[in-house]
Symmetry: C2
Subunit: 232 residues, 2 copies
DNA sequence: CGTCCATTTGAGGTGGATCAACCCTAGTGG
DNA sequence: CCACTAGGGTTGATCCACCTCAAATGGACG
C-alpha cells in the first residue's frame, strides 16, 4: 500500500479551496469563521480513516462538508461507544480544553473544512459573539449527550432504534428517504446494542409496515407517529 | 402541612448571607461571580424538594454549598435517568439557552448559592474571562456526559459500580471514608441499573474485601486498584 | 461469475430485571 | 429505656430481553 498516507491522522487528500455546503444547512461554522478572517482549509479522509484519536491534542476544529463521521470512545478490550454521528454541516472536534475527549473517524469518504482551535480561541477573546457561539455549540453537544444518556440508561432496544430513526430522519432525510452512511455495527455501538439486535428491530418495523427499505441503508419512514409513540 | 411552601420550586428557606464553602474546593462559581459584582443569594431546599423542573425557564444558576443534588430526565412511564450528582462546590443548572434540559432535586437537605443567569450572560458580554469560564464549565459537563455514555452503553454492572465508587471517592472522600448522600435507587438510576443490582454488586465487593461498610451509606475503599482494574 | 462483506435470521445462553421475603436501623412514642 | 414502625437495604428465586454463536442470504464490485 505505497499510496497510503504515512500517518493515520494525516489526511490522504489535501485541498485548499473553500467549497460551499451542498444544502441550505444552518452554517454554525461560517457564522464564526466569517468573522476575524479565519483561515479555513479543506481536507478529505477515506472510509474508516482516523481523523484524530482519543486524548490527542485538539489542534483543529472541523466541519463536515460531505460524507459522515463517527466520534467514539473505546474500552481496553475493544468495546466501543459512539457518542455522535456528524453529518454535512455539523461541527465536530470542538474542545474548550486542549485534548480531544473522543476519537473521530470517517464513516465513508468525507471532506471537512477545518480551522485551528487556537485561532478560534483568539477570535473569541476579541469578539464576544464568537465566544457566545462557541459556548452555544458545546452546549448543543451537551444537550445531545444528555438525551443520549437517557436512551442508553433507560430505553428498550425498540425504543432506541425508533429514536435513532427519527433523529436520522430529521437530520438527513431528503424527499422522505434517508440514506444511512453507517453500518449496523455503528448503529449498535451508538445505541448500546449489538448489530443483530438493531437488525431484528429494523426487520420488525419493516414487517409492521412502519418503514420501507430499498437496500439495507436506504430507508423510508411510512409511519413517523408510530415511531414517536414507541420512543416513549 | 400549613408550613410547607406553596410551590415546589419556591425554596422552603430563604437566606441572604453569603457563606464560605466548607472546604478548600476549587471555586468555579466565585471565580465568575467575583467579577462584575454579581448578586449571589442563598436558598435552602429540604430532602426531595424540587429545585427546578425539566424544560422550565432557566432563570438561575446554582452552586451547592452543602447537601447534594440530583439532575435527571424522566420518560413518560416514570423511568428515570440521573445525569449527574452535584456535591458541595459544584455548579449546576448552567444553560447556554433559556431552558433547563434536566430537572433538579435536593437529595438531602441542601443549601445553594444562586445568581441570575441573565446577569452571568451580561457579565460574559463584558468580560471575556467570564465568557471563557462559562464555556469551560459547560465543556466540563459535556466531558462527564461523554464518559457516562460509555458507562451506560458498554460497561457491565460491576464495572459501572466500580466506576461510581471511584468517582464518589474522588469527589467526597475525607479521611478515606465516604458518606454517600443518595439511596440505592438513585445510584441505580445514575448507572442504568436497578437498586437490587447495585446492592448485589456492593455486597460482592464487600465479601471480596474491596470495601468496608459502617452503615449502608458509609463506605471505605480498601483496594482502589482492584476497582480501577474492574472499571476497564 | 465469483468473492467479500454487510445484513438477516435462527437457536440457545445469560446478565441483569422482576417479584418477593426478610432484615436492619433510625426515628417515634409510650 | 425499650417496643413499635416505616423506609431503606439485602438476599433469594425466577424470568426474559438482549447477547452470543452460527449459518444462510444478499448486494456491490472486480
Amino acid at each position: 500500500m505505497l499510496t497510503q498516507s504515512l500517518s493515520p491522522s494525516v489526511p490522504s487528500v489535501i485541498g485548499k479551496k473553500i467549497s460551499p455546503l451542498p444544502h441550505p444547512v444552518p452554517d454554525q461554522f461560517g457564522a464564526v469563521t466569517g468573522h476575524a478572517g479565519l483561515v479555513a482549509t479543506e481536507f478529505s479522509y477515506r472510509k474508516d480513516e482516523e481523523i484524530y484519536g482519543e486524548d490527542e491534542p485538539a489542534e483543529y476544529v472541523y466541519q463536515v462538508i460531505s460524507g459522515a463521521v463517527r466520534s467514539y470512545k473505546l474500552l481496553s478490550d475493544g468495546r466501543r461507544q459512539i457518542g455522535a454521528f456528524h453529518l454535512p454541516g455539523d461541527v465536530f472536534g470542538l474542545e474548550s480544553g486542549t485534548i480531544h475527549r473522543l476519537a473521530a473517524e470517517a464513516i465513508i469518504d468525507t471532506t471537512v473544512r477545518l480551522v485551528k482551535r487556537r485561532s478560534l480561541e483568539q477570535a473569541a477573546g476579541i469578539d464576544v459573539q464568537v465566544a457566545r457561539k462557541l459556548w452555544a455549540m458545546t452546549a448543543g453537544d451537551l444537550r445531545h449527550a444528555e438525551d443520549h444518556m437517557l436512551l442508553l440508561g433507560r430505553k428498550t432496544a425498540m425504543e432506541r432504534v425508533a429514536t435513532f430513526l427519527l433523529e436520522m430522519d430529521r437530520r438527513l432525510a431528503v424527499t422522505g428517504m434517508m440514506a444511512l452512511p453507517m453500518c449496523r455495527r455503528d448503529i449498535g455501538d451508538y445505541l448500546g446494542l449489538t448489530l443483530e439486535t438493531v437488525s431484528r428491530a429494523l426487520s420488525q418495523l419493516h414487517a409492521q409496515g412502519v418503514l420501507g427499505f430499498s437496500g439495507a441503508r436506504q430507508i423510508v419512514l411510512r409511519n413517523r407517529q408510530c415511531l414517536r409513540n414507541m420512543d416513549a
